[in-house]
């Protein structure tokens, strides 16, 4: 069958069909003598090899912690919309193990401070932070959370940065930051958590 000269696309159907036929022929020719073995040969191994992995305590604990960061709901202003977008299906925070926004700070270990903080609200934010169980982390999201943003120099009512109220781990700049920026900040936090030391060996041995 000849290729139609007035064809619409770069590849015509017949070209694709021929290529497909070629692939099938090659696969058929090369598969005549081969028998793929059962991948479950570990079933025959001795028990010890199946059940023991060697790693460090720090790596294991940190892996568990960084892979399931659950944010507390503390979104005082407009950055929250970017956070909501990041949580939605397009940017999909669930890929990083943190799709659940906890209404109770007792069940959360990450506070994403999305928005301007006024002094009137500051005691409540600190209270939410204090109610979160250790270990806990804070991401300052947006210019207002970092430094007070546009309100930094002149306002009588705005806290000039969350780090006056609570310790901040990662700063995500932007007004507001795009969801990509927030996700990048979360990945930075995960890298930070991965470096955390959980056991003080010196302290343990002194006991």
């Amino acid at each position: 069958m000849e290729i139609d000269s007035g064809r619409k696309y770069i590849y015509s159907d017949i070209e694709l069909d021929r290529k497909e036929g070629q692939i099938i022929e090659e696969l058929k020719a090369s598969s005549q003598e081969v028998v793929i073995p059962d991948p479950d040969e570990w079933l025959e191994e001795e028990g010890l090899k199946q059940n023991i992995i060697l790693t460090t305590v720090d790596w294991f604990i940190n892996w568990g912690r960084r892979s399931s960061l659950w944010p507390a709901i503390c979104f005082p202003a407009c950055c929250a919309f970017e956070l909501i977008a990041a949580n939605g299906p397009r940017f999909d925070l669930a890929r990083f193990g943190m799709e659940i926004l906890r209404a109770s700070p007792r069940q959360a270990d990450l506070m994403i401070t999305a928005g301007t903080l006024t002094w009137k609200m500051a005691p409540n934010v600190r209270r939410i932070y204090n109610q979160m169980a250790e270990p806990k982390w804070v991401i300052a999201m947006g210019a207002c959370a970092i430094s007070g943003g546009i309100f930094a120099s002149a306002s009588y009512a705005v806290v000039p940065g969350y780090n006056h109220i609570i310790p901040v781990d990662v700063y995500v700049p932007g007004c507001p930051p795009r969801p990509e920026a927030l996700i990048y900040g979360i990945q930075m936090l995960q890298k930070k958590i991965a470096k955390r030391r959980n056991l003080d060996i010196g302290k343990l041995s002194r006991r």
């Binding site: 002094w119 009137k120 009588y156 009512a157």
Partner: protein, 146 residues
């Protein structure tokens, strides 16, 4: 479309009942003496034909030598509106009568004006700060606040 009533015409109606209660009036608004604000407001709300039963907003302006408080009223029955203003010349301890008894919606807005401008509304059931905290020094929307 809501019809904005002429301040001049309404002022004439008010002056018939409360002489010497209006400072000035124009096509778009009328300025009431603060002593007769409650009388005028009650008159505007309860007179058939006017029936200003809805308070759109209250706001306040600082003109350095006096504060001006602006009330926008509407009638949902007749679909017309009116802006009335009143002035307060005391800067140290400005006091105006509260209109919460006439329009419940004035509650939070009078508290906001007290919070940010420092004008105290007499007769308000809960006259305290709303946005800022108790103990905050000064009233931030005043022109001389720094």
């Amino acid at each position: 479309m809501t019809v904005a009533l002429s301040g001049k015409e309404i002022a004439n109606q008010i002056l018939e009942k409360f002489p010497d209660s209006i400072i000035e009036s124009s096509e778009k608004d009328l300025v009431v003496k603060s002593e007769s604000l409650l009388d005028v407001a009650t008159f505007l709300k309860e007179t058939p034909g006017l029936d200003f039963n809805y308070l759109n907003y209250i706001t306040a302006v600082d003109y350095y030598d006096h504060f001006e408080v602006v009330y926008m009223l509407s009638s949902l029955e007749h679909n017309h509106s009116l802006v009335i203003k009143t002035r307060c010349y005391d800067r140290e301890n400005p006091v105006l009568p509260s209109v919460v008894g006439l329009w419940q919606g004035a509650d939070f807005q009078e508290r906001e004006i007290y919070d940010l401008m420092g004008i105290r509304f007499e007769g308000h059931p809960n006259m305290k700060r709303i946005f800022l905290w108790e103990g905050f020094q000064g009233h931030p929307l005043r022109k001389d606040f720094m």
